[in-house]
Structure formats: C-alpha cells, structure tokens
Symmetry: C2
C-alpha cells in the first residue's frame, strides 16, 4: 500500500487527460466524418490512427462510432447557435430588416465557415439511426422555437403579421439549409451577400402580410 492512486499522470489530472483525449478524438472525427467518404466509410481503427490514440482509449470515451458522430453533431450545432445568439444580442437595437439580415449573415457565416462542419450537420447526420434522427429533430426544434420567439416579438412591435408561424418557420429552416448545402456543393455561383439577400427576401415575404 504505497503507490499513489491520485490520478495525476504526465503532469495532468485524470479529468484533464480524458478531456484532452476526447478533444483529439472529436477533432479527428471532424476530419474523418466531415470529408468524403465520410461517416459511413469510417472505422474505429482509422479514427484512432488519425487521432494518434488506441482503440482501448476510444472505448473509454465513447460507446461506438455513432456516439462520436452524435457528440460531434451537438458541438457543431452549438457553434452555429452561439453565433446566432451573439448576433441577436448585437443587433438588438436595429430595425427589423437590418436585424434579420445581421442574424442570417451570422448564421450563414458560421455554418459555411468550415465545410466539414457543414457536411456533418447537413449530410452525414441524416438517416444514420433512429436515435440520431431524434437528436437532430430535437435540435431543429430549438431553431424553430427561436424563430417563433422572434416572430412573436416582431409581431408585437408591429413589424410582422400576427399569425401562427410554426409551419412557415419550419419551411424557412429547410430553405436555409437546402440553399447552403447546394451553394457549398457548387450548384450555383453566388457571393455570401447574395445568398443572405435571398434569405432575407424569403423571410420578409413570409412575415409580411400578403399585399
């Protein structure tokens, strides 16, 4: 009874070491899953090799590959969500259209900033499993609620028509995602400002009462 089971090793605590390995796995997964051929062709072995860690350590941090993808999806989603929340705060004083534009620009910039993140969120996550599908829909519903809250506030200020925007908000999210996906896939040439302009126009068209 002498050895020190305090958990520190290499100068770091057990927690620090675990966190760092988790980080390394997630970073490697962003590379492996976010680029062709993506998650479907990925393997635990390859991921570990890319992360410079062993399969043993992998199974100490994750249950399986899908677990990694799920966590990565949350991280990626948080990233864009933070960007939008920040933009919402910054643009609090602006007029409706300018505010919408600022927020949408922030989202588009954050989402397209790294192609791998975009691919994780829009492609790799789709149709993997029932659990991931649930997680994705839960996350999406947060976006819907965010839009609904803003629409309510805008309606109170008289900047938007008063009605139930749930379906419209869902459709709009689909428009944003579809547009970003096709844009980054090179389906059409456009500047970010053009893309944002179209999205602003689309949103204004929905929010404003019909002529």
């Amino acid at each position: 009874m002498a050895g020190g089971p305090t958990g520190t090793y290499g100068g770091r605590s057990a927690q620090e070491r675990r966190a760092e390995r988790r980080e390394r796995f997630l970073r490697a997964a962003l590379d492996q899953f976010g680029d062709r051929p993506g998650y479907r062709a990925a393997s635990v072995t390859a991921l570990c090799e890319a992360a410079g860690l062993s399969t043993r350590q992998f199974y100490e941090e994750f249950r399986n590959l899908e677990d990694v993808l799920a966590q990565l999806h949350l991280v990626v989603n948080d990233w864009t969500e933070q960007a939008v929340l920040a933009a919402l705060g910054d643009s609090a004083g602006l007029a409706f259209e300018a505010r919408i534009r600022a927020v949408l620009r922030a989202y588009v910039a954050a989402a397209t900033d790294d192609p791998r993140r975009l691919r994780i969120a829009f492609v790799e996550i789709i149709g993997v499993s029932a659990a991931l599908e649930r997680q994705r829909l839960v996350r999406r519903s947060r976006w819907v609620e965010l839009i609904l809250a803003e629409a309510r506030a805008a309606a109170e200020r008289g900047e938007a028509a008063e009605r139930d925007y749930r379906i419209a908000a869902t459709a709009f999210i689909g428009a944003v995602n579809g547009l970003l996906h096709d844009w980054t896939a090179g389906q059409f040439e456009a500047s970010m400002e053009q893309v944002v302009d179209e999205l602003v126009a689309l949103l204004l068209g929905v929010v404003r009462p019909p002529a």
Copy 2:
C-alpha cells in the same frame, strides 16, 4: 446440337423475365430501404429473401446494393416529376396563384403518398457516396430548371417580377423538402391544405416584388 437457345422460358422471353425480376428486386428494396433501419442496415441476403430471389440473380441485375438504391431513387423521382408535369398541363388555363397551388398540391400529394418513397428521396439517398450525391444534384437541378422556366413564363405574363430566380428557386426547393420531411416525421400537426397554403405563400412572397 439440339437444345433451343431461344431465351423463352416459363412462357416469357428472356427480357420479360429479367424485367420482372428487376421489378421484384426494386419493390423489395422499396420496403427494405424505405423503412427503418433503411439502406444502411440492408444486406444483399435480406433483400433477396424479401424479393423471393437468390443472390445469384441479384448480381445478374445489379452491381451492388448501392446500384439498387440509385435506380430506386430515379424511379421515385420520376414518380413525383410525372405528377407535377401532369398538374402543370392540367392547370394551364388557371390564374397564377391557383396554378401554383394546384402544382404544389400535386407535388405534396405525390411525395407524401408513400412514406417509403419519401424516405428514399429525402433521407436514405443522402451522403451515401459521391456517385449518388451527383445523381441527386443532377435530379435536383431539373427541379430548379422547371421552376425557372415557370418563373420566366410568369414574368412575361406580368405575374411575377423579372429577375434571376435561380437562388430563390433553390431555396424554395429546400423549403418544400424540409417542410415535407418534418411534417411526415410528425414534428407538427397540419393538414395537407395547410402545408400547401404555406408553400404557396412562401412562393408568392418570393415572386412578388417587395412592397
């Protein structure tokens, strides 16, 4: 030198037999791929069993499972495309908004008619391989061109503003698909007419010049 290599067997020609087996494989694939757990969990063996045919025959008709998925995707796409083209023809005389509504209703009805087809087109096809991604983008571009042609015609009749609708059309397609997916996934309760109404409003908002 006596046996008759004419190809007829069981009363059918070789072509007919091949076509029928192809049909049976595709029908079984619609079941296997279009429902959870879907294409990712599918196997040649299970597909053959469901089709009541053998793996040997499978490899005479298809290169591999992805080949089946690709062909199925084309079939599913043709289905909705035919529905829309028919609606376009039928509504040739109607006013702009009524026409848009008729066509969108036809699309929504065709797309949601069979959940398995919808899932193939919107979920299972995503992120499988570079080849399938190409095929999907090619098919999507046909929808964009269709919308662009209609927008040009509408602009000539003075029913829509004259401008480049390519980006807007892409966004709109994303909206339609996203909305249908979330709707059929049970994210919100709505009648088909409500869904169509929202899509019509969205499209009119885009097409009409800003107030």
